[in-house]
Subunit: 470 residues, 2 copies
C-alpha cells in the first residue's frame, strides 16, 4: 500500500535542503509565514540549505530567495508551503516536477473549514498519489528534529533549541506540539516531533512505521483524534511495539467529546471502547491526559526496562512515601520487601531506615550533610535483589544534582530503571535542577505520582514486549 | 468536648506575640532551629512581637532573647518549641503558667519514632488537657498566615511572601506544606495553612471547626492520613460544608499504602471504602492526587458557584476543545448549547465560530490583533443564558493578562465561574502571567484538564451546599 510506505518519510525529518514557500514579510502582523519558518530554522541552526520561494524574489536574513522552485540549481528534499489554499495544488505539482518527495502544507482552510476546502484537499491528495510526493498536512506546524535543527513552524517561539533524546511526539493538534508547549524549559529529551494536521496523506501509520525504524527514537507518544485505517494502524503498532513502546493519547472518550472531534477534524471519531480494545490488542498503551502524554515517555528515553514489578521508594517525608506506595499499587507495581542484607546495611545508618518506603527524613535532618544520606542509600536500595525499580524523591537543588552526577556510572551499571521526583520552594531552581538531571539521563518529574506511574507503565511495556516477541 | 473546641485555635493563627524556643545558632548546619523560625518570620514581616527563648539569653537579629518565658513582661499568645523532646513537657508547663493557650511542638522523635517517643507524647497530651493549653504537633512545621506574616517553619524558604486569598490548606505531611512547595511561584491565593504533625491534641476536627468560621477562608483543602475521631469528623464536616467546600486528599487507598501510613503515623489508616462513603455522606469532596489537592481549590478562592452544569469552552485550537469537552463530561458537566442570539453574534465575527467548543484559532490567526477576538468572544459566551460556567484557554503572555484586566469588572458583574488555562512556549512567562491573572481574581491553570475539572468540582459543591441547607 503506497500510502503506508515508511521510505518517503525520511525527507520530512532528515532533509539536506528545504524550500520554504510563502510571504517573506517580517512585520509583527504577518508572523505565520515563510519568514517565520526561516527565522526559526536559523535560530535552531538548521544544518541543511534553505531556499525561500516567493514571487517577489530578493533575499531574507541574508538568504537568496527564488521566484520559482524550478530555479533552484541543487536538489531540494523538503518543501514547506505557507501559501493561500488555492495556490497549493499547482505548487505541489511544481515541487513534484523538481523531484521533491516531501511536502508540508502548513496552510489552513482545507477540509477542516468546509466544503470548498475539502474539495481542494481532495485535489492535493490526488496530486500526491499521482506524483509519489508525500504530503504532510494541510493545517499543520510540520516537524521538529533537534539533531539537525529542523523546525517548520512559522510562529515565534521563545526557545531556540530543545534537549536531544529518545522521545518522538506526534499529535493531531497544535496544542500538543512545539508551537504551544515550553519544550526547552520542560527539558523533554526529544528525538522527533510531528504535527499531523489534517492527515490528507501522511498519517499515524506512516509515522509509526518510520519511527519504529528510527534508531534515535526510543519511545513514541502519539495524540490521535481519529484513526484513518484501523487495520493498518493495528499492524503498524504491532510491529512497532516489538522495538519500542507506543503510548496513545486519544481524547473523544465521551460522546460529546467525540462529537466535538468530528466537527473539528471532519472525520468520525468512532466508539471509544472499540479503540480501547484495539489499542490493547495491538500492544499500545493508552495514556489518560495531556500531562501523561508529555511526561510518561521520559522514563523510556533513558532507562532500561524493569525485570519485574517490585517497587521501592526513597523519600524525605513519610507522607510522600504513602502517596508513592498508593500510586504504585494503582499502576500494577508491588512494594518490594528488602533482603535481610539490605535491612542490615540500612540499620547501620539508622534503626528507622529498614522499611519500604525508605523515609530518610528523620535521618537527614540530624545528619551533618543531608545529601550524603541519599548518596549512601540509593546504591543500597538499587543493589537489592528484591527490587526491580525505584523512585527517589529529593529536594530540587544543585546539591541533589551533584549527588546524581557522582552516582551516574553506578546507576548505569546496575541497569534498573529509576525516576526522580523533585520538591522544593523555588520553582525556577526546581525546574533548572530537573533539566540538569534529565540531561544526566535520569527521568525527572516535579510530580510524585507521575514519577511512580512512569515506572508502572515501564513494567506494562516490558510485558507487552515479551508477549510481542513470542 | 474539650478536644474539639474551635475557640482555642485563633491564637495559633492570629497571635499578637510569639515565643520561639530553641537554639539561636545561625550556622548552616543548624538551620532547623529557633533562629530559622525567627528569620522566616522577619522576612515575612510578622506584625506581632517575637520573643526568642534560649538558656543563653543574649539577642538574635536585633531581638532580645529571654532565658525563660516567665521573664517576658507582656502576654504571649503562641509558643513554638524547637527543643529536645525530653525538655518539651516541662516547657509546656512553663507556657501554661505564663498563660499561653497555644503551643506548637515542632520537634520530631515523638510517637512517630518509637515507644519512648510515644510515652513522651502521652505526657504532652496529659499536660495539654490538664492546663487547657492547646498543642499542635509534635513533629510539625506549624502554621502560615499571610495576613499577619506568621510563619513557624524553621527551615530556609526561597520565598518571603505568598499571595493572600481564600484557600486554607491543612496537611499531615511536610511534603504538602509550605516547607516543600513553591507557594509563591505557584501563586496560590492563601488564607491559612497548618501542618498537623502527629495530631496529639489539635487535629482535623479542630481545624474544620475553626476554618469553617474563619471569614477569610473560602475553601478548605485537607490532606489526611488518618482520622482520629470519625464521628466528630463527620459532624464538623457537615457543619463546614454549609458554609464552604471541604476537599479531602486521603492517600492509603491501597492496602499497601494503608500499611505504609500506619507504620509512619503510628495510627491505623482504616478501610478505604469506609472513608469514601463517610466523606460522601458528610459532604466532603475527595480529590485524587497531589496536583488536585493544590490546584482545584483555586476556583473557590475567587469565583461564584455555578447555577448549573452547562459548560462552555473557548480555545485556540480544535484539539484542546475536544480534550476540554471530554474532561467536562468525566466530571459531570454537560456541553452548553448556545442560544440563537449567541450563535448570531458569533457568526458576525466568523461563520466558523458558532460551536461549543468555541475554537477561535482560525479567526485569530487572520485577525490583525488575535487578542481582540478573545476580548469580544468572552462576554458573548458568558452572557448566554444556556451557559453556567466557562473555561478559557489562551496564550500565557502579558497581552492575555491585559485582556482580562480590561474585562475584570464585566466578569464580576456577570457572576458565573470561569477558569483560565494558559499555554505557551516560555515557562517563566506563562508562570508569571498565571500569577498575575490569579492576582486579578481569576483561577488560572497551566493544565487544561484541571482548569475544567475545577468547574466540575464547583458544580458538585453547589449540589452539596443545596442539600446541606435543606
Amino acid at each position: 500500500m503506497k500510502a503506508h510506505r515508511a521510505d518517503g518519510l525520511s525527507a520530512f525529518f532528515e532533509p539536506a535542503s528545504v524550500a520554504v514557500f510563502g510571504s517573506l514579510n517580517d512585520s509583527a502582523f504577518a508572523i505565520g509565514n515563510a519568514f517565520g519558518v526561516i527565522k526559526n530554522m536559523l535560530s535552531f541552526r538548521f544544518k541543511g540549505k534553505i531556499y525561500p520561494i516567493n514571487l517577489s524574489g530578493g533575499e531574507t536574513m541574508g538568504i537568496k530567495a527564488y521566484t520559482n522552485v524550478s530555479e533552484v540549481g541543487d536538489a531540494v528534499d523538503l518543501a514547506m508551503l505557507l501559501i493561500p489554499p488555492r495556490a497549493v495544488p499547482a505548487v505541489i505539482n511544481q515541487c513534484a516536477s523538481k523531484g521533491i518527495r516531501a511536502v508540508i502544507v502548513g496552510t489552513e482552510n482545507f477540509a477542516e473549514a468546509g466544503e470548498e476546502g475539502a474539495a481542494l484537499q481532495k485535489e492535493v491528495v490526488k496530486i500526491a498519489r499521482r506524483s509519489g510526493t508525500r504530503v504532510l498536512g494541510p493545517n499543520t506546524l510540520g516537524v521538529l528534529n533537534p539533531s539537525n535543527g529542523l523546525i517548520t513552524t512559522p510562529y515565534p517561539l521563545y526557545y531556540d533549541s530543545v534537549m536531544k533524546g529518545g522521545i518522538s511526539y506526534c499529535s493531531q493538534s497544535g496544542l500538543l506540539s512545539f508551537g504551544a508547549c515550553p519544550l526547552k524549559d520542560k527539558g523533554y529529551p526529544i528525538s522527533k516531533m510531528c504535527d499531523f494536521g489534517n492527515k490528507c496523506d501522511v498519517n499515524e501509520v506512516d509515522l509509526l512505521n518510520y519511527l519504529a525504524e528510527d534508531s534515535d527514537t526510543r519511545v513514541i507518544s502519539m495524540h490521535l483524534e481519529d484513526i484513518k485505517d484501523g487495520h493498518a494502524f493495528m499492524e503498524a503498532t504491532r510491529k512497532a511495539v516489538v522495538k519500542k513502546p507506543v503510548l496513545i493519547f486519544k481524547p473523544g472518550r465521551s460522546e460529546a467529546g467525540a462529537k466535538a472531534a468530528a466537527s473539528h477534524t471532519g472525520s468520525l471519531a468512532g466508539d471509544n471502547q472499540i479503540y480501547d480494545s484495539a489499542f490493547r490488542q495491538a500492544g499500545a498503551i493508552r495514556v489518560n491526559n495531556l500531562g501523561e502524554f508529555w511526561e510518561i515517555p521520559r522514563v523510556f528515553s533513558s532507562q532500561p526496562l524493569p525485570k519485574g514489578n517490585r517497587f521501592a521508594v526513597i523519600v524525605g517525608s513519610g507522607g510522600s512515601g504513602v502517596i508513592a506506595i498508593d500510586t504504585a499499587t494503582d499502576v500494577g507495581l508491588i512494594p518490594a520487601t528488602f533482603t535481610t542484607s539490605t535491612v542490615r546495611k540500612m540499620a547501620r545508618l539508622s534503626p528507622r531506615l529498614a522499611n519500604n518506603p525508605v523515609d530518610i527524613g528523620p535521618v537527614s535532618v540530624t545528619a551533618s550533610d543531608p545529601f550524603s544520606v541519599f548518596e549512601e542509600m540509593i546504591p543500597i536500595v538499587l543493589a537489592d535483589g528484591n527490587v526491580d525499580c525505584v523512585t527517589i524523591g529529593c529536594m530540587g537543588t544543585p546539591e541533589s544534582v551533584d549527588v546524581f552526577r557522582r552516582l551516574k556510572t553506578h546507576l548505569s551499571d546496575i541497569s534498573k530503571p529509576i525516576t526522580i521526583f523533585l520538591w522544593g520552594t523555588d520553582l525556577q531552581i526546581m525546574e533548572e535542577s530537573a533539566r540538569q538531571l534529565e540531561a544526566l539521563g535520569i527521568p525527572t518529574y516535579l510530580d510524585l505520582e507521575t514519577a511512580v506511574k512512569s515506572l508502572g507503565v515501564s513494567v506494562a511495556y516490558s510485558k507487552i514486549k515479551l508477549r510481542a516477541e513470542r
